[in-house]
Symmetry: C2
Subunit: 180 residues, 2 copies
């Protein structure tokens, strides 16, 4: 995987694809499926919502680290299935035949089969709202992958695949941070 400037990592999250979030609790790797995520301004900071009902939550609180891995549309069924079972009784990397790749700055692993991965540290956990503030430390992309279409959760069990791209860069050029 090829490194992406961390200042550009928000462009991987802002379209709000369904993501896989990996954690390492000191003993084993785990993966959760999340669509409750947004960027926090034009920064490498992200807002992620999860709570104690989720097994990965405890590893996230304990380790204060995770990796946000972005699956493309060909992984949609696997991604939903990952969200429908629990790391408490399932080795999700094994069951779903995914490859854990060593990250550079966190113990949680990258997922090789994803089109991009962002290593993150928890900078704050706002318990009242189940909000985690994450700061990206390294971002990676699989530059060889041509099909980069991701997918979005509706919340009722249906999903929306990425369609055509639209370019409005000229209209909003004054709002885009330099270098993005």
């Amino acid at each position: 995987m090829k490194k992406v400037a961390i200042e550009k990592a928000f462009t991987l999250i802002e379209p709000s694809p369904v993501v896989l979030v990996t954690t390492y609790d000191g003993k084993k790797n785990n993966i959760m499926t999340i669509s409750w995520i947004t960027v926090k301004e034009f920064t490498p900071e992200f807002i992620l919502v999860t709570g104690p009902w989720n097994y990965s939550f405890h590893a996230l609180v304990k380790s204060q680290e995770c990796v946000i891995a972005i699956p493309s549309i060909d992984l949609s069924e696997k991604t939903v299935k990952i969200g429908a079972c629990s790391g408490s009784d399932t080795d999700k990397f094994e069951k779903f035949e995914l490859t854990a790749v060593k990250a550079e700055s966190v113990e949680a692993p990258l997922i090789k089969e994803c089109i991009a991965n962002i290593e993150c540290r928890v900078t704050e956990y706002i318990r009242k709202h189940n909000i985690f503030i994450l700061r990206g430390t390294n971002a990676w992309t699989d530059a060889k992958r041509k099909n980069r279409k991701t997918f979005h959760a509706v919340g009722d069990g249906t999903f929306i695949a990425d369609g055509r791209k639209i370019n409005h860069r000229k209209i909003m050029i004054s709002k885009i941070p330099e270098g993005v």
Copy 2:
């Protein structure tokens, strides 16, 4: 517009389309373009990120209310242009030929040309992170509109239109709240 059960309103936000957010500061209506938004669990609560650099921010803080209006793909250029100018010197409803419709529970207006609108109250403003916690009070959909494709911001001036739908409802049925 037809009322949508507020318990289902999160399905309008979870795919994370670019949205228009209307406010009323006591004197005039305004509109901002936002893609920094996520649902907060399977609830009618939403997390929206904006700050003092945005003219609408002040109306949002003052009134503690807004409407989240969801534009379809045919409004993409207009939506980006709305985000590229300021309510401080522009009547955006007039300039962009949009129709303000009276909401039921807030002073901020619905936008008639959007496929859906959610009336919201601010329940908390977390200044440190520029996070607004919103609670939806009423949701509306234009049931007659057939093209319901929305669009997602990448953050670099490009956007992704909704593509095909995928149904994984059977896999995640145990996670979906009753009635959704």
